[in-house]
Each structure stands twice: as structure tokens, then as C-alpha cells.
């Protein structure tokens, strides 16, 4: 396998240096075909070192690497020398070269640009960052996969994948090691835990951008504050129209870290700057040509869009051999998970039931403007001024591949940039917290909200959250106009009373237990969970999202009858909106036990659940008159 990797690398270098004149035109496509075929094999793919796991400076330049990433922005297409001719100054011999998969034309020779053989081609650049909000366990597991492979190639001799010996020159910014991530686990959700030091050093990435001068360190434009990992400029050579902003991809490509690329930005200050060269402002230069050591270039050979980033599942959900086996014990896993979440929710089984439904919900289709399948849950009755919401988020983070906890404090609402905004000076999309990959969980902590004034940013942020919940879309701010980006984000709102944001379903938490020390209580539950069971939970939650679902004619009829019946007794009892919700609950309930069609029993069960839930809210209304 080492051989294989070396061979692959060799192949690629051959490919890169080929003289196109010598081979048939379809040679290139053939190589790419062969290469894709090889990578389909899961094992072969795991030999390729990943930018997510290995710091850039340990990787060999011009070698094959992979990168699991999120398309944050798309730059303008660029024209490059597809084929060019070089002239050897001594022998005057001319050689045709390919400019594909390269940033810099071959040095040492005089490049002859006048030749008729030269071909100009077009390629597209994507600005990619690691998947925002990716849970530490995902990083850990995918890292351990690549480590556990006994035949794993160490691409550079100086780098051993040992987690504890970090070389002293290791760049903080390039830090990707899960080990380190683990240490930071406590501080990832900076706005919740309120570690003031962290807040100062990391949060500003979203606040002070173009305004800050050149002296500030490069802002890598991660959607979430406090994120780490390499950002990458991915050069795409074909079919770039197929990719969209906010897609998550696994990219296989050739790494390019030519230091020459960084020279540009340094030379800008020298007197040799071409006075006519005013197309790009300094800010734009910094963004579009950042130093290659910080933002490596990746020339894409092949990429596939990921439906999820759960390393425990095969990448494409359609390959469901393993899943069919798993479906057999879905019911038992569900039971275990329900028990676990009930404990976490202080003994409230109904809330736990709804939490499971929420966690497996996903927008599976849209009818004109209406997103179908979203299930925003508002968990009210969370104790104010306690770390409970934080603990709860910690538990969810353990289960879900990517998530983010947004403390809705006044300060955050008034200062955070939630909606991505186009910065025309630097010509890029400044990311915002709501620029998230599909199926990311957003945990809104409303218990942090206190009385006070929302300024205009705050109002806009709240509106954006409302739009996200109601329509599953975010209107990106392009200054002169807005652009609507559909999204698929699971929103969970933890609040004291009913949330001020709209939601699909409101569950009042009714704790059965009152443990004296919440923190300790939760951590005991977490510790007692066996890792294998935890992994089963993870597979369960990711897998069920991908299942198809249908309703038979017969059940449709029954549901209709039921609805008419209910309305007959009391027209106020159920509205069209309630039926919408009931249908979503029924769908999720069926899926949660692995059924892909709706049965009468499930329908009755869904109705029962809804009755329990509404009764609880009614009760609460009586107890606490001022709650609407």
C-alpha cells in the first residue's frame, strides 16, 4: 500500500509534468478515470493523507492529499495557461508543458507566450474551510481511522503521527490535532461559558475585519468564532457549476504550497509595484493571495459531495449494506437512547422523545417556499442562570457530527454577525454564524437573554433567526441587494419561558428529579455510557435522516377521516397548522423506529404524544398566567 501511494503520487507527478504533445488527447481523462476508480475503494482513499489531520508543513508539496471541507466562498473564475511552451535558453529547444494542477509556470526556462500552441483555459477557485462546528469526536475518529491503518504512509519522514510530541515550530494556526481540540473542548462554546480571555482573542475574527489594517493576522473567515484548522483555496478544473456554497466536500487534489505564491504579497510594498496594477486593493490581495503556508492551494482532481460528515457511516448513504443490518436493532438502540436522554433531561421522558424526533429531522423537500420536514423544538423550562443548557449542549454535541451553541445574550445578538455579508473591499463573503453546512444543529440558548435594548444589528439578527426557523433560508447581505440561500439547519431553542422566536413545537420541560449538583449528575451519566453504545447512537441519528418515507393510500384516508372527525367535534381543536405538525411528528416517529411508511398505530401514537404535549402547555398556562 505504501507502494500504491507512492505510485499514485508518481503518477500524478507524471501527469503534472507531461508534455501534452506526446500523448493522445484523452490520455488525461483516462488517467483521471482510473484514479477515481481507485479512490472509490475505501481503503485506497484512507492511504491518502488528509489536510484535516496532518499539518500542512508536514506534507510534501505537489503530493496527493485529501481535505474534508465546506465551501465558504467562491471566487471569480480565472484564466490560466493550459498549455504553454518553454524555451531552454542554452539549447533553444522548445518544450510544451501543461499548466494544469499548478500555480506557477515552470521556472528556469524562458516561457514563450507567443506560440500558437498555447491554450488558455479556465478554472474556478473555491475558498474552503473545515466543516464548521464539527464535533471533536468526528475529528478524533476520522483521525484514528487514518492512524489505525497499519500501512499508512508517512508522507514526510520528519512527521510521525504521534500526538504528544509536537515539534516546537508547529504553527498554532495550523493546529488540527484532535488531542488539542479535546483540550479546548471546554472553551469551544465561548459565548456560553464566557471565558473572557478566549473571547478577546478569538471572537474578534468575526468583528474586526476589513477595518483592521494589514498588520492584523490574516482572518481566515471561519463561519463560527473560535474555529481552527486549515483554510484552503481549492482550484476546480471541471464541472464547478455542480458545487454550491455551503456544500461539504471531500476533495482529492494536489497540494501546492509554493513559497513563490507568498512573495506577491510581500513585494507589494516594494517600489517595484506596477503603478498601473491597481485592479486589486491590498485587502483583496490579502484575501485572494494569502501566504501559501497559511492557506495552501489544492488542485482538485476529484471531489464528492458528502451527505453527512459522520465517519462511522459510509460516505454515500445509498450504499446501505451496513445500514440494513443496523436497522434490525434500531428499536433497541432507540430504547437505549430514549433512556439516556430521559436521564439527561432530568427524568422527562416526553421531552426526551421529542428531542429524538428533533435530532433526526431534516428538510427533505421544499414546496415552493415551504420547507418540509423541519422540526424546530423549543425546550422551555430550562433553569435560568445555571450551566444546565451548557451541559445539555455538551451531551448533544457528543451525539451529532456538527453543531454550534449560540448564547443569545444581548451582547451576542447586538454584536455578532449572524448573516454572511459581502465585503466589496476585499471582494469576499464575510462569513456569519448562520453560514452552516446542511444538517448542522444550532443550539440557541435563550436563557442567556436578559432585558435590555436590541440595536438595529440585534433586530436584524433576531429577524434572521426567525427567517431561518420559519423558512429554512438565510438572506445573505450583498449590500445592494440580498440573496436567499436555502439551508437545512436543525434549530433547538432552550429557554425559560416560551421562546420569542417562532418554532414548530414547544415542549415544556418537567423535571422529575432535582439533583443537587447538576454538573456532576450529567457527567456521571455521560461517563457511564459505553463508547460502543455511544457510537451506535451516533450511527442511529445520522442514518435515520437519510431514509425515504411514504404514506399509503389507506392511511391517507384514515388520516383524513380522523382530521374531519376532530374538526367536527370542535373546529378550534385542530387547525391546518396543527395537522402539518402532526404529520411531521408522525413521519419522524415512524422513521425513529426504522419504519419507512406510516401505520395507523404510529399515527395514533403521534396524536397521543401531541395531546400529552399540549396538555402540558395548557397546564402551564393555568399555573403561570402570564405565559401565552
Amino acid at each position: 500500500s505504501t507502494q500504491f501511494y507512492k505510485w499514485l503520487n508518481h503518477l500524478m507527478s507524471l501527469h503534472v509534468q507531461t508534455k501534452p504533445s506526446n500523448c493522445s488527447p484523452d490520455w488525461e481523462t483516462k488517467v483521471l478515470e482510473y484514479f477515481k476508480e481507485k479512490l472509490k475503494d475505501n481503503e485506497a482513499a484512507s492511504w491518502v493523507p488528509s489536510l484535516n489531520d496532518v499539518p500542512v508543513h508536514y506534507l510534501k508539496a505537489n503530493s496527493l492529499v485529501k481535505f474534508r471541507c465546506f465551501i465558504q466562498d467562491m471566487f471569480d473564475p480565472e484564466f490560466y495557461m493550459g498549455v504553454y511552451e518553454t524555451v531552454d535558453p542554452s539549447s533553444k529547444s522548445k518544450v510544451l508543458r501543461s499548466g494544469k494542477y499548478k500555480d506557477v509556470a515552470e521556472c528556469g526556462h524562458q516561457v514563450d507566450l507567443n506560440t500558437k500552441n498555447a491554450v488558455t483555459l479556465e478554472r474556478q477557485t473555491f475558498y474552503c474551510v473545515p466543516i464548521p462546528g464539527e464535533s471533536p469526536w468526528v475529528k478524533e475518529i476520522s483521525f484514528s481511522y487514518s492512524c489505525s491503518n497499519p500501512a499508512r504512509v508517512v508522507p514526510s519522514t520528519s512527521y510521525a503521527p504521534c500526538r504528544h510530541k509536537r515539534s516546537y515550530e508547529e504553527d498554532e494556526d495550523m493546529e488540527t490535532q484532535p488531542h488539542k481540540q479535546k483540550e479546548q473542548l471546554g472553551t469551544t462554546d465561548i459565548h456560553g461559558s464566557g471565558d473572557p480571555k478566549r473571547l478577546e482573542t478569538e471572537a474578534p475574527s468575526s468583528l474586526s475585519n476589513a477595518a483592521s489594517g494589514c498588520s492584523s493576522p490574516l482572518d481566515l473567515n471561519f463561519p463560527l468564532p473560535g474555529e481552527k484548522g486549515p483554510a484552503c483555496l481549492v482550484k476546480v478544473y471541471e464541472e464547478w457549476e455542480l458545487f454550491k456554497v455551503n456544500d461539504i466536500l471531500e476533495v482529492y487534489g494536489i497540494l501546492s504550497v509554493d513559497p513563490v505564491l507568498s512573495v506577491i504579497s510581500e513585494d507589494k510594498d516594494s517600489s517595484l509595484v506596477d503603478p498601473m496594477d491597481c485592479t486589486e486593493s491590498v485587502e483583496e490581495q490579502r484575501v485572494h493571495c494569502p501566504p501559501a503556508s497559511l492557506v495552501p492551494r489544492l488542485h482538485m482532481l476529484y471531489a464528492h459531495r458528502l451527505q453527512h460528515n459522520n465517519p462511522l457511516l459510509p460516505p454515500a448513504a445509498s450504499e446501505g449494506q451496513s445500514s440494513s443490518g443496523f436497522l434490525n436493532d434500531v428499536v433497541s438502540v432507540r430504547g437505549e437512547l430514549l433512556g439516556y436522554l430521559t436521564h439527561v433531561l432530568l427524568g422527562d421522558a416526553l421531552a426526551a422523545e421529542y428531542l429524538i424526533l428533533h435530532l433526526i429531522s431534516t428538510v427533505y423537500a421544499r414546496r415552493d417556499v415551504l420547507p418540509l420536514g423541519k422540526f424546530t423544538l423549543n425546550l422551555s423550562g430550562c433553569p435560568h442562570n445555571s450551566t444546565y443548557t451548557e451541559q445539555l449542549y455538551r451531551v448533544i454535541q457528543q451525539l451529532i457530527p456538527s453543531s454550534f451553541r449560540l448564547g443569545m445574550s444581548l451582547h451576542n445578538m447586538n454584536n455578532l454577525r449572524l448573516v454572511p455579508r459581502k465585503d466589496y473591499t476585499a471582494n469576499r463573503l464575510l462569513s456569519g454564524v448562520l453560514q452552516l453546512a446542511p444538517n448542522t444543529s444550532l443550539f440557541l440558548d435563550e436563557t442567556q437573554l436578559e432585558q435590555g435594548q436590541l440595536d438595529s444589528t440585534g433586530v436584524r439578527n433576531i429577524t434572521a433567526l426567525g427567517n431561518l426557523i420559519s423558512w429554512q433560508k438565510v438572506d445573505y447581505d450583498f449590500n445592494y441587494h440580498q440573496m436567499e440561500f436555502p439551508c437545512n439547519i436543525n434549530v433547538l431553542i432552550a429557554s425559560e419561558g416560551k421562546s420569542l422566536l417562532p418554532c414548530d413545537c414547544h415542549v415544556r420541560l418537567q423535571p422529575q428529579l432535582a439533583p443537587p449538583n447538576l454538573e456532576q449528575y450529567i457527567s456521571t451519566i455521560q461517563v457511564s455510557l459505553s463508547p460502543s453504545l455511544l457510537n451506535k447512537f451516533r450511527i442511529y441519528l445520522s442514518l435515520l435522516r437519510t431514509l425515504d418515507y411514504s404514506i399509503s393510500e389507506e392511511v391517507t384516508k384514515a388520516v383524513e377521516d380522523d382530521f374531519v372527525e376532530m374538526r367536527k367535534d370542535d373546529p378550534q381543536s385542530i387547525s391546518a397548522e396543527d395537522l402539518h405538525r402532526l404529520l411531521v411528528v408522525a413521519r419522524l416517529l415512524s422513521l425513529s423506529v426504522g419504519h419507512t411508511t406510516l401505520s395507523r398505530d404510529r399515527w395514533m401514537r403521534a396524536k397521543h404524544l401531541e395531546t400529552l404535549r399540549t396538555n402540558r402547555t395548557e397546564q402551564q398556562k393555568c399555573v403561570n398566567g402570564n405565559e401565552p
Binding site: D103, T120, L261, T279, D368, K568
Partner: protein, 854 residues
């Protein structure tokens, strides 16, 4: 002029060959590549580069080894390159005629013109006369690398100018011209009169007149446009020999059909003439670009001019007069500069595919095009697409394998200009393919097109057929009429609709749908928007410190639909703004010294919730939503979206909802097509169909109106006002548009009547009597209620009179007495209303708890 054979022939220099056989032009040249080679060479700043001094280079421009002097008056003079060198500039006045008029450089055409650096001091006078000699050999000459023959090209273009007629032109550029006379000759006359030496040429005209010339223009703009310039100047000065204009006429082609969309630009477009549309997002400061450097010898004061060559000035190393080396110094204020400006253009939002970010392109504007556009403008730019390699390091030969691209602008055209001037045309001419038009027409011919379209509208929302039909008509709108001659001003063509009803009856969803459907829709919520957000506000631009007028939702949705959710939650001051917009269709602003009136020809689609959480069927519309009747009467249609509470409806609703949850992807796909079709249908009808009332329809309308008035008059109330008639006309026109009909016919009126009646039935029914009463909407109170109020006041008066001469009485006592006397229940509100009425009559006053007679 010293060594004629020194440097090798440069590819980028135009040459002429004696016969076509001798020189077959390569089909595609890479001029940019050429330019880069020399870019990469070190700047000639030291005496080492002596050989590269301009004078030397000049002579090597011609492939023919023949001595320069012999060539100059034949070939060179026929080439467009000779025309317009700065040296031909005649300094000082008076000037007229071709030779006398100075030439303005065209940096927009790039470096090629600078390539010829023939010293024409001696023979420039012959220059313009060259065509004479050229005709004899003309057929054989082509510009190197192209198939352009200067003579033929010139001739063809002159023929085009002299003969082109476009009787069907609707172009606003041709306003005021006689369409049956040669168009461009009239424009030349205009130039003679106005003195603005720019001739804009519509490429579409050229294409229809001479497709081959058009092809050449697109493919070799750098060579062809100077030829056009030359042709037009000859023609102009032939006709107007005594004309004095600032500089020679420049031809600015526009509307090249090659590329429309920024996203479609590809390497094949390099060096071609393209037209793209987009939005200006940033403009740079003015950059002075040196066109010609002036050097003076510090020893002997000999002076010389050096033209810029691909962005470089070759400093003369030796003084030609006294042979001193390094004695030439640049004199800045005698050098010639041209203006240049960098403009960033971004793809218009409509062109962007979903889920992608917009592309941007750099555009350079030159000379008088500088500062023609501002950030935020939507423009169509015609220019030459360029690509220049990026050097990694000026000292190395390394080349980054990427090109920088930009467009040298030749012509700007603002797409919003018409909007600002308030012309009655759709601002954006949406282009439809013939095939699309045919499908649309086929659809329009179907008898049930109206039903089809209304059911295609928001299919996920169940039933509410009439509401959908109303919204459909709103999308089309009426015909815009102009009565400004008679002093009435514009006549509103937009249809306004208000939806009110119980919360959770998918009102917002309808609004969202409409907002997504129309190209210029705005969506705001009454809760979140202030008067300022709706209208316009003045902002200080952080960069320029200038005051800028920022427009709000209503202005932005000019010619579109402004969807306002939670209309009832809007503050009074905000609502008051709507009064002007909804009837006059304008918006007056007086803020921070800016006083203006903006067009806001927007349809308003609003949704309001009842004040009580549930709609109270016992109350009137006004009472339910608590909106001022002045505003309500400006809505053409007011619909109630209520829960019908009937079994059959429930069943259908349930079926509809359940089916939402298991429909397959393909079915969803189908619907999406419908939405695109609907969009095109609406856009087409809006821009091309302008129905007029037929005689029958007018009669039908009159009858309908009279009938409406009659209904009420029987019971002593007015059930229709002229506003309702106007609404009917608008609705009928919109319905005719749906049918793609140029005439409003009786069926249109019938449907308008039906829809109007339906809406009235829902919203203007007096809950007390069950009759439709328009005064609920126009005065806020039904006629019966008003009558009742009066009666009560009279009863109260009688009661007080019956008590005899008591100057004061107790409030509560009076109330109780009145209640005891009356046989209907009297609420405190009613009692107070009655008291108020009597107070207004000056019959009594109420102070605290006592009522005092006057």
C-alpha cells in the same frame, strides 16, 4: 530612425502585406500573450537597452524590408494606425475640418494603436488623404492577424451609416429622430449641432445590415473600431466641412450580442467585443495615466515626446540633438495624461444561479467615461475583454500561470435610466426566445388559462381560489395611463390587495411566494419596518463623507410588488406614508436638505391579523383589524382568509396536506417548471400587452357601476364610489392581460365584477344586517351603524328634555335611565358616543361625572 533592421519583428505590431496570398492570417491571435512578453522584459531604463529606444523600434514594424520613407505614404497611410497620432494634433486654433480637428486618444482600445510609432512629423498632412491610393490596391490589404481590409471595412461602414433605416425602432436613443430617414446620418447632424463628438452605434443594427462587418467588429474590435472612427470622420467632415467639434468623432458600439452574462465569459472571448450586464459595486479614484511623456535635454534643451507603449515609457537614453547620454529629463506638466478609472462590476442578482456567489469583473473606464457610473447602478457595458498575465516578481522570469482579466469599457448604458425618468416602459426588457414566446402564446390561447395560472400560483397553499385569482391579477396589473396633460397626473395601474384573517391561515406563505415570484419584490414585516425603512433615508457614506439617499422597500419595489406582512402592527406614522404611495404612486421626501419625489409604482400586497387573536364574525372588517378606513379604501381587493369550518373542505385540506408529505421528487420538479413558466408569462404580459377598453367593455363597466350604486341606494346608503370603478377597470385590464388580449372585453369585465363582488362580500358585509355595505370600507362605519348612532343620540336628547329644566345631571344616572328606557342593550361605548354627538351639537358638555346642559 538610425538602424532599420535591429530588432526582430514583433508579432503584436500591425503590418500590411501586399497580397493576401503572401500572408494568410492565423485564425486566432494571442495579442495578450504578445503584450506580456514585452511586459516581462526589463524596463528600458538604462543605456544598455539602447537598442530598444522607440525610434529604433519604429522602423522594424514593417515586415517589408523596403526603406521606410517609401512605404510611408502608401501602406501606412491606409492603415487605421496612422490616423490619430498625437503628433497630428494641431496646436492652436482656429480649426475645422478633418485635419484641423484634434484627435482624442482612445485608451479604451488598448495598446495596438500605440504599436505604430512612425514619426509622421514630415508627412502627416498626407495621412487622411490616403484612401485615394488605397482604393487601387485596397482589396489586397488586410491587417495582420485578421481578415480586415481597411478600405472595404471603411466603405462598408460608411454605406451602413448612409443607408441604415430602422422604421420599427423603439430604442430610446433614437428619440426625436425621423425613423424613415437614415438613422445615423441624423445622428451626425446632431453631433454637428450639439458638438458632442461621440457616435453610439447599435451593433444589432449593424448585424442586420451587414453580418460580416458585424462579425469583424466583434472579433477584431481593436482594429475595426479605429477604422470606423476614420470612416465616420471622413463622412462627417465631407458633409460639415466647417463644423468645429472638440475632437474627432469616436465610434462607440453597444449592444453586442456576443455575451450577455458575466458567468458565460470564457477564454474565447478574450480580445473580443462583448456586452455584459451587471451592477457596479465599487469605483476607484481617478487615475491619471500617462499617454505621452515629454522629455527635455538638460544640456541643450532639446525636447522630445515619447508615447506610452503597453504601460511603459521608454526613456530616451541619448539626446538626439547633442548626443549627451542620460540628459533627458521628464517634464511632468508638459506630458499628456488621460483619465482612467477602475470599476468593479458584479453579476446582477437575476443572473445568478441558486446557491452560488456572484462573479465580479474589473472594468476600466477611460476619459469621458470616467465617473459615468456610481456604485449601485445597473449597467450594460460594452467593451473589449482582456487578459494579462501576472508577474510573480518583476526581477524573475517566473510567471504565475494565471491571467488577470478586465474589460476596457467602450460604452456604458444604465439599465435603470428609464426608471429614473419615469418613462412608461418596463425597465428591464426581458428577452424571450421565439420558442418561449410560442409556448407562452399557446398557453394564452387555452380557454382555461386563467384557471390554470391561478392554480399554478402557490400550489402548496390550499384552496382560496379567489384570493389566488386576485393575486394573479395583481401580478399582471392594469394598463398605465397618463393624464398629466389634463392635469390629473398618472393613473394608478397597480392593484393593491389586503388579506386579513385568522393567524395561521398561510397568509405569510402566500406573501413569501409572491415575493419569490416577482423579479422586483420586497418583503417586509410591519413589525420590523419603520417609515424610514419603507421610504428612503439619508445616510452619510463612510468613504466619501457624502450624503446619500438610500431607498427603502417601497422605492425598491418600483414596478414590482411590495409584500407587507403584519400590516396591522405597523405604526401610524409608517402607515401614513402608504397613503401617498398607494394612490399617487410617488413618494415625497424632504430630509437633510434633500427634497425629492421618487417613483414608487408598486403594488402592495399586505396581510393583517385581527386585533383580537381570532376573527370576530360579529364585527366589521374595520373593527376587526383596526386600520384607518382611509387606507383601506385604497385597496382594490380586501380578502378574508377564514377557516371555513365545513366538513368537505376539511377533508380536501387534509388530503392536500398529507399528499405534501409523501409526494415524490419528480412531482416537485414538475411544479418548479410551472413556476418558471408563470414567471415568464407574467413578465411577457407585463412588457408586451397593453389592453385598451373596447366599447362594449366600457358600457359593461358603466352598467356595473350603476348597478353597484343602485344596490345601496334602495336602503339609503352608498355602495360604490368612483374608486371602486377604477378598481373594476384595473381588474378588467389585468384579466385581459392574462388572456394576452389587446382589448378589454365583456368577459374581462364580468370576471372583474365577480372578483370584486366576492371580495366585497367577504370584507364589506355589515354583520348586523348581512348586506354588503361599501361604506364600511370607505367611512369606517356601516350606514346602519351610523343611523343607529344618530337615533340613540336623539333618544338621549329626548330623555334629557323630558327631565325638564335641570342644568346638571349625574353621568351614571343618565346612563341607567337611558338603558331602562331603551329596548335594545346599550353599552357604555354607545352611550358615550351618543353623549359625544350631543356635545358636538353644543347641546351639553361632559365634565367628569356630571353632564351639564348648555
Amino acid at each position: 530612425m538610425s538602424s532599420p533592421s535591429a530588432t526582430p519583428t514583433k508579432d503584436d505590431i500591425l503590418c500590411a502585406a501586399w497580397s493576401e496570398d503572401a500572408l494568410t492570417p492565423p485564425s486566432r491571435r494571442r495579442r495578450t500573450d504578445d503584450a506580456s512578453t514585452s511586459d516581462l522584459q526589463p524596463m528600458p531604463t538604462s543605456p544598455v537597452t539602447d537598442m530598444r529606444s522607440p525610434a529604433v523600434q519604429d522602423t522594424s514594424l514593417f515586415s517589408s524590408p523596403a526603406p521606410f520613407s517609401h512605404l510611408s505614404d502608401t501602406i501606412d497611410m491606409s492603415s487605421p494606425l496612422t490616423y490619430g497620432t498625437p503628433s497630428s494634433r494641431v496646436e492652436g486654433t482656429p480649426r475645422s475640418g478633418l485635419r484641423g480637428t484634434p484627435v482624442r486618444q482612445r485608451p479604451d482600445l488598448g495598446s495596438v494603436r500605440k504599436a505604430r510609432q512612425v514619426d509622421l512629423h514630415s508627412d502627416h498632412a498626407n495621412g487622411p488623404e490616403a484612401p485615394a491610393s488605397e482604393h487601387s490596391v485596397g482589396q489586397k490589404l488586410v491587417i495582420w492577424g485578421t481578415d480586415v481590409n481597411v478600405g472595404t471595412c471603411k466603405e462598408k461602414f460608411q454605406r451602413f451609416l448612409q443607408r441604415f433605416i430602422d422604421p420599427s425602432s423603439t430604442d430610446d436613443e433614437n428619440a426625436g429622430l425621423d425613423l424613415n430617414e437614415p438613422l445615423y446620418m441624423q445622428k451626425l447632424e446632431e453631433i454637428n449641432v450639439v458638438g458632442d463628438p461621440v457616435l453610439n452605434v447599435n451593433c444589432e443594427h449593424l448585424q442586420s445590415f451587414d453580418a460580416d462587418l458585424y462579425r469583424q467588429l466583434i472579433a477584431y474590435p481593436q482594429e475595426v473600431i479605429p477604422t470606423f472612427d476614420m470612416a465616420v470622420n471622413e463622412l462627417f467632415f465631407e458633409r460639415f466641412p466647417d463644423s468645429v467639434i472638440e475632437h474627432q468623432i469616436q465610434v462607440r458600439p453597444y449592444n453586442a450580442l456576443k455575451t450577455r452574462n458575466m458567468r458565460n465569459l470564457n477564454p474565447e472571448d478574450i480580445d473580443q467585443l462583448i456586452t455584459i450586464s451587471g451592477m457596479v459595486i465599487r469605483t476607484s479614484q481617478l487615475i491619471p495615466e500617462m499617454q505621452e511623456a515629454f522629455f527635455r535635454c538638460q544640456v541643450c534643451a532639446f525636447s522630445t515626446r515619447v508615447e506610452v507603449d503597453r504601460g511603459r515609457i521608454a526613456e530616451p537614453a541619448v539626446c538626439r540633438n547633442c548626443n549627451t547620454t542620460h540628459s533627458m529629463a521628464l517634464i511632468h506638466n508638459r506630458s499628456i495624461f488621460s483619465d482612467k478609472q477602475m470599476i468593479k462590476l458584479q453579476e446582477s442578482p437575476e443572473d445568478m444561479p441558486a446557491g452560488q456567489t456572484p462573479h465580479t469583473t474589473v472594468v476600466y473606464a477611460h476619459n469621458d467615461l470616467v465617473d459615468k457610473v456610481q456604485p449601485g447602478d445597473r449597467v450594460n457595458i460594452t467593451g473589449i475583454y482582456r487578459a494579462v498575465p501576472i508577474r510573480l516578481n518583476p526581477r524573475q522570469s517566473n510567471v504565475k500561470s494565471v491571467y488577470k482579466t478586465h474589460i476596457d469599457a467602450i460604452h456604458f448604458r444604465k439599465t435603470h435610466e428609464k426608471r429614473l425618468h419615469g418613462l412608461d416602459e418596463e425597465a428591464e426588457e426581458k428577452l424571450f426566445t421565439e420558442e418561449r414566446v410560442r409556448t407562452l402564446r399557446e398557453l394564452a390561447a387555452k380557454p382555461d388559462v386563467y384557471e390554470r395560472l391561478s392554480s399554478a400560483l402557490a400550489p402548496s397553499i390550499y384552496e382560496h381560489e379567489d384570493i389566488k385569482k386576485g393575486i394573479l391579477l395583481q401580478l399582471f396589473g392594469g394598463t398605465r395611463k397618463d393624464f398629466s396633460q389634463t392635469g390629473r397626473g398618472g393613473f394608478r395601474a397597480e392593484i393593491n390587495i389586503l388579506l386579513c384573517g385568522d393567524p395561521g391561515t398561510s397568509k405569510s406563505q402566500l406573501l413569501q411566494y409572491v415575493y419569490n415570484l416577482v423579479p422586483r419584490g420586497q418583503y417586509t414585516s410591519g413589525k420590523g419596518s419603520s417609515a424610514v425603512g419603507l421610504t428612503a433615508y439619508v445616510m452619510k457614506d463612510p468613504e466619501t463623507r457624502q450624503l446619500v439617499l438610500q431607498t427603502g422597500a417601497l422605492v425598491l419595489s418600483d414596478n414590482g410588488i411590495c409584500c407587507i406582512d403584519e400590516f396591522d402592527k405597523m405604526s401610524d406614522s409608517t402607515r401614513s406614508v402608504l397613503h401617498e404611495v398607494m394612490e399617487q404612486q410617488t413618494l415625497s421626501i424632504a430630509k437633510a436638505g434633500i427634497i425629492c419625489q421618487l417613483n414608487a409604482r408598486t403594488s402592495v400586497l399586505a396581510a393583517a391579523n385581527p386585533v383580537e387573536s381570532q376573527w370576530n364574525p360579529k364585527k366589521t372588517t374595520i373593527e376587526n383589524i383596526q386600520l384607518p378606513h382611509t387606507l383601506l379604501s385604497r385597496f382594490d381587493l380586501i380578502f378574508l382568509m377564514l377557516d371555513p369550518q365545513d366538513e368537505a373542505y376539511d377533508r380536501r385540506l387534509a388530503h392536500h396536506l398529507v399528499s405534501l408529505y409523501y409526494q415524490s421528487e419528480e412531482q416537485l420538479e414538475e411544479e418548479f417548471l410551472d413556476m418558471a413558466m408563470l414567471k415568464d408569462y407574467v413578465a411577457y404580459a407585463r412588457s408586451y400587452i397593453e389592453p385598451r377598453l373596447s366599447e362594449e367593455a366600457s358600457q359593461a363597466l358603466i352598467k356595473a357601476y350603476v348597478d353597484m350604486r343602485k344596490i345601496g341606494s334602495g336602503r339609503g346608503m352608498v355602495s360604490a364610489y368612483p374608486r371602486q370603478l377604477e378598481s373594476l377597470i384595473r381588474l378588467a385590464e389585468a384579466h385581459a392581460k392574462v388572456r394576452f388580449s389587446d382589448k378589454v372585453e365583456t368577459i374581462d369585465v364580468e370576471e372583474a365584477k365577480r372578483l370584486h363582488r366576492e371580495a366585497l362580500k367577504q370584507s364589506a358585509t355589515d354583520p348586523r344586517t348581512g348586506f354588503v355595505d361599501i361604506s364600511i370600507l370607505t367611512t369606517g362605519m356601516s350606514a346602519t351603524a351610523r343611523k343607529r348612532k344618530e337615533e340613540l343620540a336623539q333618544a338621549l336628547k329626548r330623555l334629557i328634555q323630558s327631565k325638564g329644566k335641570v342644568p346638571t345631571m349625574k353621568y351614571q344616572q343618565l346612563f341607567d335611565d337611558l338603558r331602562a328606557q331603551s329596548d335594545v342593550a346599550i353599552t357604555k361605548d354607545m352611550f358615550e358616543e351618543a353623549l359625544q354627538a350631543l356635545t358636538d351639537e353644543d347641546y351639553l358638555t361632559v365634565t367628569g361625572k356630571t353632564v351639564r346642559l348648555l
